[in-house]
Structures are given as structure tokens and as C-alpha cells.
């Protein structure tokens, strides 16, 4: 038995397995919940690292569930994009739940904390599943698990806002899933396959016979995944959901969950649908304009918010726009920028949400206007927030700069400097809402609750520090992650 050859399955199954063990542990061995959860995610993370190395050394590989080769069995395909996304999900996911192991204690009732770990592990497993599966129906199943788990980690905090936000999210998510399933049906109807590779082979022929069918499927896919990824104007659920949830949930939702759908969309658009079909309808144009609007309007909404988490949530809408901008431009650099931004934004936004969570944990203050002087009393989260803010604005030597660089380069490559203007304007808008917070934090006298915060436990400080270090590190040495991103983009574009 060679364990390393089963990693693609194990990376999903191990968190899934422990997700089901967790209710039992929560009943009898409460103190084991955290170590077991961390252990399961660490395992997935190590597996993801190993797979990333393998894919870089020997190229994409696949794994057949139950030894059934495709088109009969479910195939897990580890290509560059999948390995990259799995690495992001498990790595950032690990840090978030490490932080959460302390933060949740004050946000949730003691009896539901065990369930939180179940949901979290399910969420991680399903996200990894979405990015590595090579089978569209399998993807649908993971999408549903992901949707329910994501709603679950919001509604588990039983406040009015959370329940309501979770319900809204659930309804829209189900709509999205429905659209996705309908698209799967349409595709299966004309190709007879569920496996991406086989589907992609059969599609050109099918396109000649049933072009309308495919266009409808494409539209449904974009709407379905767009709702889940909160692509403007389908974002209405996001601000409530991400701001009311417990901080670790907000972090994982904003940093990872919405990105996973973007990865799914990238895979479907670039690898499954024939390029001619994308030419038939201005799909990419639509995505481009939607993402541009998302970038600008998301930032504008963020400016007027006074709740720190709501502001971050709106900022996520803008940031997911960057990812889709990279997808829509269809040039190598832009795609690199878009994919890289998945990683960079995961780092930044999780850090920002965790820092916001730390503020709330320490002081109970959520209003931006009351956070004056927090930099004096809670320096580490404030510095992390500051680094995150700079990265959001795109100051060089932070990772945000690198993704903006590639996106801008990409928009110049295809001769559309307009979209570069969009990026720059949004960076400016980001500056408008992030920098005053930073300034307030460091140049103001702390008042009331801010003056005497609860001390933060190590479990919360260390992930924050690692994340902020990561933002700087991947801003200075992006080449470590760029190798795999480049190959992913080249594979997607068929270069």
C-alpha cells in the first residue's frame, strides 16, 4: 500500500471522515475536537503540498475512484489549478480554524462547538472536492455540501441576523445549485458524459447540432456559479451573510468559499466549453463588465459602511471581481493575475477578518468609528490589519500588488487599458476606506472598551502573524507560487 498515490482521494476523505467522527467526540471527548480537526486539516494540507510538488514534477495526474476508469467512474483530476487551489484552501483553512479554536469559545454556545468542527471539516472537504474533481455531477454534490456547510457555519451562531442571513444565503444557494444541475442535465443530454475530459471532447460535435442547448447550459452555469461566487449583481446575499457570521466563518467564507466557485467556473469555461461557443455569445464580455461593475460598486458600497465586518464583506465583492476580471480578459497574464488573486485575496481577506474578529473579541466593538487607537492597545491585530489594508490597496511588496500587476499587464496585453483603469480606480477606492481605519487605529486616543481590551490568546495571535507574514512574503517572493499559477494558466489557455 502506497499512501502517497491515494492522496487525491484521501485529501477529501480524511476531513470528511473526521467530520463524522466529530459528533461522537463532541459527546464524549470534547477536548479532542480541536486537535483532531487540526490534525485532519494538517493532513490535507500536507497532502496538498505533496500533490503540488508531484504535479510540478511530473505533470497533471488523475485518480479513479473505485478503480473505475472514466467515463464510468468518478475521476479526480489533479492539474495545476486543482493543486494550487487545494493548497490555498487547506493552508488558509488550517490557519483560520486554528484561530477559531479560541475565538469560537466566546462566539458560540458550548454545546454547538463540536458541530462547528463537523461543519468546518465538511466545508474544507467539499471545497477541496470541488476543485479536484473531474466529474461534473460529483462537482454538483460537493457544491451542495459546500453550500449547506457554509450556511451552517453562519446559522450556528443563533443570533437573529445570522439565521436570517443564512436563510437568504441558503435560498439563493439552492437557486444556484438548481441552475447548475439543470446545466448538468443539458450537458449530459447532448454529450452523454459527465466527465469533463470526455465532455470536452464531445462538445464540439454537439455544438454543431444543438447550439442553443449549450448556450442555455452556459448561461445557467454562469448564473448558478455566479450566485454562489457573489458575482455582481448576484451578490445580494453576501454582505449580510459574511458580516453576521462568527469571525472564523466570515474569514473562511470570504477567503475561500466564494473563490472555490470561481475555480469551478474557470475550469468549466476554459477546459470544458469549446472556445468557439464562447465566441458565439459574448460570454467573456459579460463577465468582464459584471466584474468591472463588481469592482467599482463593491468598493463604493464598502466606503459607506460603518460596521467593520460589513465593510470587509463589501470589499470581498470587489475582490471577487478581480478574479473574474482575470478570467474574462482571456490573456495569459490576466489569467495568472486572476488565479493568483484567489490565493492572495484568501491570505489578505482571512487576515483582515481575523484581525476584525480579534478586535471584536478583545473589545466587543464593531463600529469603525469607535476603533480609534486600537493600534496602541492591540498592536498585533492592528498591524496585521494595516498590512492587509496596504495589500488591498496594492502597495508594492505586498501580495496584493503582484496580482494587480498581472491583471493590469493582462488588460494591456489584450489592448484594453480601460480595465486597467478600473483596477486603479478601485485601488484608490480601497485606499479611501482602508487607510482611514489604519490611521484611526494608530493615531488616536483609545476610548472606553478600546482602551482596555481582553488579552488575545496565542492561538489567535499566531495565525494572524503567519498570515501577515505570508502577505509580505508572497509579495516579495511571488515566484514560489507563480510557477504553478503560470502552468495552470498555460494549461487552461492551451498554450
Amino acid at each position: 500500500m502506497n499512501l502517497s498515490q491515494h492522496l487525491p482521494a484521501l485529501i477529501v476523505v480524511v476531513p470528511l471522515f473526521f467530520a463524522f467522527v466529530m459528533p461522537l467526540l463532541a459527546r464524549w471527548r470534547k477536548q479532542w475536537c480541536v486537535p483532531v480537526t487540526l490534525g485532519a486539516i494538517i493532513f490535507s494540507f500536507v497532502a496538498a503540498v505533496k500533490m503540488a510538488f508531484q504535479v510540478m514534477n511530473t505533470g497533471p495526474f488523475s485518480y479513479y475512484m473505485g478503480d473505475w476508469p472514466p467515463p464510468w467512474g468518478i475521476e479526480l483530476g489533479i492539474d495545476y489549478l486543482a493543486a494550487f487551489a487545494a493548497l490555498t484552501i487547506t493552508g488558509v483553512g488550517l490557519l483560520i480554524i486554528w484561530y477559531g479554536s479560541k475565538d469560537l469559545l466566546h462566539e458560540l454556545k458550548a454545546e454547538v462547538i463540536g458541530w462547528y468542527y463537523t461543519l468546518y471539516l465538511l466545508l474544507i472537504a467539499s471545497m477541496v472536492g470541488i476543485v479536484i474533481t473531474n466529474d461534473i455531477f460529483n462537482m454538483f454534490v460537493f457544491l451542495e455540501i459546500c453550500a449547506i456547510a457554509a450556511c451552517g457555519i453562519i446559522s450556528i451562531k443563533e443570533s437573529r441576523d445570522c439565521i436570517e442571513a443564512a436563510f437568504k444565503y441558503l435560498v439563493l444557494s439552492v437557486l444556484g445549485s438548481g441552475a447548475f444541475l439543470l446545466a448538468v442535465a443539458m450537458l449530459y443530454m447532448v454529450t452523454g458524459h459527465l466527465n469533463f475530459t470526455f465532455m470536452a471532447e464531445a462538445l464540439p460535435e454537439a455544438m454543431a447540432l444543438y447550439p442553443n442547448n449549450l448556450l442555455v447550459a452556459l448561461a445557467l452555469l454562469i448564473v448558478g456559479l455566479g450566485v454562489k461566487a457573489a458575482l455582481f449583481p448576484l451578490h445580494v446575499w453576501l454582505p449580510d451573510a459574511h458580516s453576521s457570521a462568527p469571525s472564523p466563518s466570515s474569514a473562511v467564507l470570504s477567503a475561500l468559499v466564494i473563490k472555490v466557485y470561481a475555480v469551478a467556473m474557470i475550469r468549466l469555461l476554459y477546459l470544458v466549453f469549446p472556445r468557439e461557443l464562447l465566441g458565439m455569445a459574448p460570454v467573456m464580455e459579460i463577465i468582464l463588465w459584471m466584474s468591472s461593475l463588481a469592482i467599482i460598486i463593491g468598493s463604493m458600497f464598502a466606503i459607506v459602511q460603518d460596521d467593520i465586518k460589513k465593510m470587509l464583506a463589501y470589499s470581498s465583492i470587489a475582490q471577487i471581481g478581480y478574479v473574474f476580471l482575470g478570467v474574462g480578459l482571456m490573456s495569459e497574464s490576466a489569467l495568472v493575475g486572476g488565479i493568483l488573486h484567489i490565493f492572495n485575496h484568501a491570505l489578505m481577506k482571512s487576515m483582515l477578518f481575523l484581525a476584525a474578529g480579534a478586535f471584536i473579541y478583545g473589545t466587543g466593538v464593531r463600529k469603525l468609528s469607535e476603533l480609534k487607537g486600537i493600534g496602541h492597545t492591540m498592536p498585533i491585530p492592528a498591524i496585521a490589519f494595516c498590512i492587509g489594508a496596504f495589500s488591498m490597496v496594492g502597495i508594492p511588496i505586498t501580495s496584493g500588488f503582484i496580482s494587480k500587476w498581472y491583471l493590469a499587464l493582462g488588460s494591456l496585453d489584450v489592448g484594453r487599458p480601460f480595465f486597467m483603469g478600473v483596477i486603479l480606480i478601485s485601488s484608490l477606492l480601497n485606499g479611501f476606506y482602508y487607510l482611514p481605519i489604519v490611521v484611526n487605529a494608530f493615531f488616536g486616543e483609545p476610548e472606553k472598551a478600546v482602551a482596555k481590551p481582553k488579552p488575545l490568546p496565542k492561538q489567535m495571535l499566531v495565525p494572524l502573524t503567519i498570515l501577515s507574514f505570508g502577505v509580505i512574503f508572497f509579495g516579495v517572493f511571488p515566484s514560489l507560487i507563480l510557477g504553478i499559477v503560470y502552468r495552470a494558466a498555460q494549461l487552461l489557455l492551451g498554450l
Partner: protein, 127 residues
């Protein structure tokens, strides 16, 4: 195309046709009703429409369920969509259960399951 032709084509594609009608009914219910329970019902109708659509893809007129018995040769339906939809139904059941439990919680907090009423109590926002 004459009327007859249209009718004939509709008849040939009747499963799809009704699936789409069901879908629209479900979608409409979901969007227009304020009662949250009705929204969930609409959601289910919509899901069922999709399932019907999906299963209809695999159906072969006159086909039987594919149980192999030695010596008997039949036309079989394609079992794959049915198997997939079983998964879909499971998912729909869990989503429904979850949605209902959320509605119970909402009722606990607001004392109503009317979306507009909840909106009014909250003052702004939409559900």
C-alpha cells in the same frame, strides 16, 4: 410549422415541457410568496422539476429498469440519470430540512414567518 406539428413535437418532448412548466411554477412560488414555508415549497417544486428533467433524459420509451436476467433481452432505460437524481433528492431533502429548521428559528426570533413582516421588524434590508 403547423399546429399539429407543434403539438406532436410537444408530445415527443412532453417530459421536458412539463419539467420546464414545473420549474417556472416553483420559481414563481419561490420569488413571489412572502410566506417562508411557501418559499421552501417552491424551492422543492423547482428541484423536482429539475429532477424530472434529468430523469427524462435517461428514459427510453418502453424501456425497463436495467436488471440483468439471464436469457431475457429487453430495452433498458439509462440508469445513470436516475442514480444521479437519487443523490439530488437526498440533497434536496437535507436542504429542505435545514431550511425548515431555519424557519423555526426565525419564527422564534420574530414571531412570524412572513418575509415582509420580518423585513419590517428589522427595518430595511430584504429577504
Amino acid at each position: 410549422m403547423t399546429i399539429t406539428e407543434i403539438v406532436l413535437r410537444l408530445h415527443a418532448n412532453s417530459y421536458y415541457f412539463f419539467a420546464i412548466i414545473l420549474f417556472i411554477i416553483g420559481f414563481h412560488t419561490m420569488l413571489t410568496h412572502n410566506n417562508l414555508i411557501k418559499k421552501v415549497i417552491g424551492m422543492n417544486i423547482m428541484d423536482m422539476a429539475i429532477f424530472l428533467f434529468f430523469v427524462a433524459i435517461g428514459y427510453v420509451r418502453g424501456g425497463r429498469s436495467p436488471i440483468l436476467e439471464p436469457g431475457v433481452n429487453h430495452t433498458f432505460i439509462n440508469p445513470l440519470p436516475s442514480a444521479l437524481i437519487l443523490t439530488g433528492i437526498v440533497v434536496a431533502v437535507s436542504v429542505t430540512a435545514y431550511a425548515l429548521s431555519l424557519i423555526i428559528k426565525l419564527y422564534k426570533h420574530y414571531g412570524t414567518i412572513d418575509a415582509e413582516e420580518i423585513m419590517r421588524i428589522r427595518g430595511g434590508g430584504s429577504l
